[in-house]
């Protein structure tokens, strides 16, 4: 893991300016059993107006990353290091007051479970209005009008009436819309959506994803969408980051990740899911084993105990830690030589997808 790389040394696919740059982010939680390395040296960039999908299983560190960006671990025992630069400002170095001014205004978050993320004791309107008043010097009635507009924008029917209802009076899909309205009420430049549709039915999920795409076009904001569902990232993301055991194992534009993935874990994810759009296969191909402990992760490559291809690397996967050059266009954390990876994918993986 190279140390803090300069943010300016960026030369990749054309697009907007880099809005968010994360370098060597580490988040650790001291527990009775030992130090949990939830995020262990993560680096990525996100450009203005683009969508980054972060994919991984539970415990891979994807949600911890988003909460660290939001500064939600302040005042906890979590140990955070690295660089989170938003529009040139290091968020980790900000004072609490300055961070509070930015949180919700520059960066907003949509949580997975809208029932526990919304306060049951306040009306939906109160919560949206509050989010607006924190960042705007305006009258309550103007803020209320703004909230009604936002609820209308996210497709809540009859917003002037619904604004005075409580979260429990909303259905799951409507609550998620309300939360999106709350996140977008301040026109944030970055929206982090952490499993925004996992608790929803597919038909409602389709509505919500449609809504997010539409709003992004309208407001030009960047989105980080965190999910375990490869279908959702295929629909939403320009770029995809695959995480395993607190680290990025592969990153690339969506096309590369789906049609020319290079990391054995990405292959495993793609292979293990049943596909509705392909001929039915007799038997699923799971990734063997279980996700590793974050307290004492495996030596060398964290994925090696579950990797079917560890013998293809000429270096010992159990001893040598593979690197990850975050400044390359398609970095892969794997010891198998690149041409060999491409050959394995073409000959062994692709035919079975």
């Amino acid at each position: 893991m190279s140390t803090a790389l300069s943010v300016e040394s960026e030369e990749r696919a054309p697009g907007g300016d880099v809005l968010l740059s994360v370098r060597d982010l580490r988040v650790r939680f001291p527990t009775e059993d030992g130090l949990v390395k939830a995020v262990d040296g993560l680096s990525f960039d996100l450009r203005q107006g683009e969508t980054l999908g972060i994919v991984g299983e539970s415990g891979s560190g994807k949600s911890v990353t988003s909460q660290a960006i939001m500064g939600l671990y302040r005042g906890t025992r979590a140990e955070i290091s690295g660089l989170i630069s938003f529009d040139g400002v290091d968020l980790l170095g900000l004072g609490d007051e300055e961070l509070r001014r930015r949180r919700g205004k520059d960066v907003a978050m949509v949580f997975q479970d809208p029932l526990s993320a919304l306060h049951p004791y306040y009306t939906v309107g109160n919560q949206v209005v509050e989010a607006y008043l924190v960042h705007h010097e305006t009258s309550k009635s103007a803020a209320r009008q703004r909230a009604i507009d936002m609820l209308d924008r996210v497709g809540i029917p009859n917003p002037a009436k619904r604004i005075d209802q409580y979260p429990h009076e909303f259905s799951g899909g409507m609550r998620q819309r309300a939360m999106i309205a709350m996140a977008l009420v301040n026109d944030p430049r970055l929206v982090i959506a952490d499993e925004p549709t996992t608790a929803l039915d597919v038909t409602v999920q389709a509505q919500i994803l449609d809504l997010l795409v539409g709003l992004q076009k309208e407001f030009g904001s960047s989105i980080i969408i965190i999910t375990h569902d490869l279908g959702v990232v295929a629909e939403m993301a320009n770029e995809i980051l695959v995480m395993y055991a607190g680290r990025a194992v592969e990153r690339g534009v969506a096309e590369e990740l789906f049609y020319a993935p290079e990391h054995p874990y990405t292959w495993g994810l793609l292979q293990s899911m049943p596909r509705m759009d392909r001929l039915r296969i007799e038997r699923l191909r799971p990734i063997p084993g279980n996700p590793p402990s974050l307290i004492s992760p495996p030596s060398g490559c964290a994925f090696h105990p579950r990797c079917t291809f560890r013998d293809d690397a000429r270096l010992g996967c159990a001893q040598v830690e593979p690197g990850f050059d975050a400044d390359r266009p398609h970095p892969v954390r794997c010891l198998i030589p690149p041409d060999e990876r491409i050959r394995i994918f073409q000959t062994q993986i692709r035919p079975s997808l």
Binding site: E57, S171, T203, D210, G231, V232, E255, M273, M276, P291
Partner: protein
Amino acid sequence: MSAGQGAPPGRRRFSGRRTQTGNRIELGEVLLEVEDLKKYFPMKTSGLFRRPADPVKAVDGISFRLRKGETLGVVGESGCGKSTAGRTILQLLPPTSGSIRYKGRDITGVTGHDLRMLRLEMQMIFQDPYGSLNPRQTIGSIVGAPFAIQRIDPEGGVKAEVQRLMERVGLNPEHYNRYPHEFSGGQRQRIGIARAIGLRPSLIVCDEPVSALDVSIQAQVVNLLEDIQNDFDLTYVFVAHDLSVVRHISDRVAVMYLGKIMEMADRDELYGDPLHPYTQALLSAVPLPDPRKENRRARILLTGDLPSPINPPSGCVFHTRCPRFREELTEQERTRCVKEVPAQVPLDADHGVACHYAGPAAAPVL
């Protein structure tokens, strides 16, 4: 933990059951017949005047037939009644009306000794591997509980049998004395499976058995379920909301909406040629892990939310959200949807559709 990987290939349950064209040539014996099953939950009377409240019509008239060794997938959005249907079949909930015949015998509303005998034949695998295992019991006593309840002494004793079961589902038999919290989600689901197959049942209702698991683990458990189905000649009712998993595991699929079966057909037919507008919308809503295909696909968006099962829409319950109703039908046709309830999908339908204007979608949905 790679159990569920080593089974022989080419395992399908009845080979030659169907020809290439999908015609039945050889049929398993009928194991379960459900006819016009209804389950209403009474609501507490409310308000000042204590008027009787309308019941929640969780399951509102469903019929299907299940043959031995078959897997019936039941899909639908949350609140469509699929889990209630599964529980009512197992007599975990008493049905409001309708009949359930198991091996030709009417088992609707059996109690006491008969019910206990029935439990030998019918088991359940639950969704939540955290909530469905008693945290204060060891794995040994959880998996051994069915033997104790039924007062059965398996050959070689309960402990040996439990360890055999643990090994069969891919758990280390030495972990007999461990507690549920010492296991991961996937391993806990294996414990639930071991408990369900202990008494050698014929029918297992699986209620969202893999939806709480990560993708890589989900595939392990799906493979395990298929393996033990072959080994123990099991028949499954597989309740799930994940359409890809249901397609993989099921022989037949029933799509439910507001307590009714909208469409029921063989798996390949349902996914390849869905005729009900709801099935079409459901399939088109699933995002595919293929960006190029995703960009080309036209999604059928359903508007609004699921109506309340207390006061379902008149006529066809789906008409309030139906894209065909909204966009394709004439005024006269719409009146029929609003007023007339479509006929229930019959129990022995090859491809049953509960829709007045069933037909293929305008564009392919997958």
